[in-house]
C-alpha cells in the first residue's frame, strides 16, 4: 500500500512539475489530467472511493475538457513568441517564495498536536456514509451549493456573450 502511495505520489509530482515548467499550455492541460488521475488513485488508497470517482468525472472530465475547448478557441501564440517575463530573476524569486510557503506549511504541521488515529468502524460503505452526511449534517451547504452553481452558470453565459447591450 505504501509502495503504491509512493508510485502515485511520484507520478503526481512529476506530472505537476510538467504542468508548471512546460511551455505549451495544451500540453500543460494534458499533463494536468495525469496529475488528477494520480491524485484520484491516492484518494482510493485513503478509502475515499466516492471522492475519487467524482475527482475523475469532474476534474479530469469536465474541467479539463473546458480548458481544452478554451485553448482551442483562443488561437494562442506559439510558446517561442510568448512574451518574456518582465523582471530579471523572476523565476528564481518565485521558486524561493514558493519554497518559503512550503516551509511555513511544514512548520505549521509539525507544531500541530495530532490526536491519536481512530479505529475503523465497520458498517456503511463510503458512498452511503457521504450520502447520509450530505442530507443530514450538511443539508444547508448542499442547498447553497446549488445556488452557487446557478449563479456560475448565469455568470458564465453573460460573460461569454459576444456583445453586451
Amino acid at each position: 500500500m505504501q509502495t503504491l502511495f509512493f508510485i502515485l505520489g511520484a507520478v503526481a509530482l512529476i506530472s505537476g512539475g510538467l504542468v508548471v515548467f512546460q511551455p505549451h499550455p495544451l500540453r500543460s492541460a494534458l499533463w494536468l489530467i495525469v496529475n488528477f488521475f494520480a491524485v484520484a488513485g491516492i484518494y482510493l488508497l485513503a478509502h475515499a472511493e466516492f471522492i475519487a470517482a467524482i475527482q475523475v468525472i469532474v476534474y479530469a472530465g469536465a474541467i479539463i475538457v473546458l480548458f481544452l475547448f478554451v485553448i482551442m478557441l483562443l488561437n494562442l501564440r506559439r510558446p517561442e513568441e510568448a512574451p518574456k517575463l518582465p523582471y530579471i530573476g523572476q523565476k528564481f524569486a518565485g521558486t524561493v517564495l514558493a519554497g518559503f510557503t512550503a516551509l511555513l506549511m511544514i512548520y505549521g504541521y509539525t507544531r500541530a498536536q495530532l490526536p491519536a488515529a481512530r479505529e475503523m468502524v465497520p458498517g456503511l460503505g463510503n458512498t452511503e456514509m457521504i450520502a447520509r452526511s450530505l442530507f443530514t449534517d450538511y443539508l444547508l451547504p448542499f442547498e447553497v451549493t446549488s445556488v452557487l452553481l446557478l449563479v456560475a452558470i448565469v455568470g458564465a453565459v453573460v460573460l461569454a456573450k459576444s456583445k453586451l447591450k
Binding site: 505504501q2 505520489g9 504542468v19 508548471v20 491524485v39 473546458l66 523572476q90 518565485g94
Partner: protein, 101 residues
C-alpha cells in the same frame, strides 16, 4: 500496511508549492488557472488524508464542496478569459495592465 497521515500532508505541501511556483512564474492566464486548480487539489489531498486518519466522513464532505466551488470557479474564470481575449486579443497577464496607473 496503512499510509501515515504525514505522507499525505507532505505530498499535499509539495503539490501546493508547485502550484504557487506556477502562478508566480507563468504568464499565460490559462496556465495560471491550471496551477490554481492544482493548489485546490493539494488542499483536497490534505482533507482526504485527515479524513482517513480520523475515520470521519467530514473531510470528504469538504472535498465535495471544494470540488463544486472549483467547477463553478473554472466556468466563470474561463468565461472571463474568453471575454478578455475578445477585448484585448491576448491572455498574457503582463499585457493586461489596463487597470495600472
Amino acid at each position: 500496511m496503512v499510509v501515515p497521515v504525514q505522507y499525505y500532508l507532505a505530498l499535499s505541501v509539495a503539490l501546493f508549492a508547485l502550484g504557487v511556483i506556477g502562478v508566480l512564474i507563468r504568464r499565460n492566464a490559462l496556465v495560471i488557472y491550471m496551477c490554481i486548480e492544482m493548489m485546490l487539489n493539494a488542499v483536497n489531498l490534505a482533507f482526504i488524508g485527515f479524513a482517513d486518519y480520523f475515520k470521519a466522513v467530514d473531510g470528504q464532505m469538504f472535498v465535495f464542496f471544494v470540488l463544486t466551488v472549483a467547477a463553478a470557479e473554472v466556468a466563470v474564470g474561463l468565461a472571463l478569459i474568453v471575454a478578455i481575449f475578445r477585448n484585448r486579443g491576448d491572455v498574457y497577464v503582463d499585457n493586461l495592465n489596463i487597470l495600472k496607473w
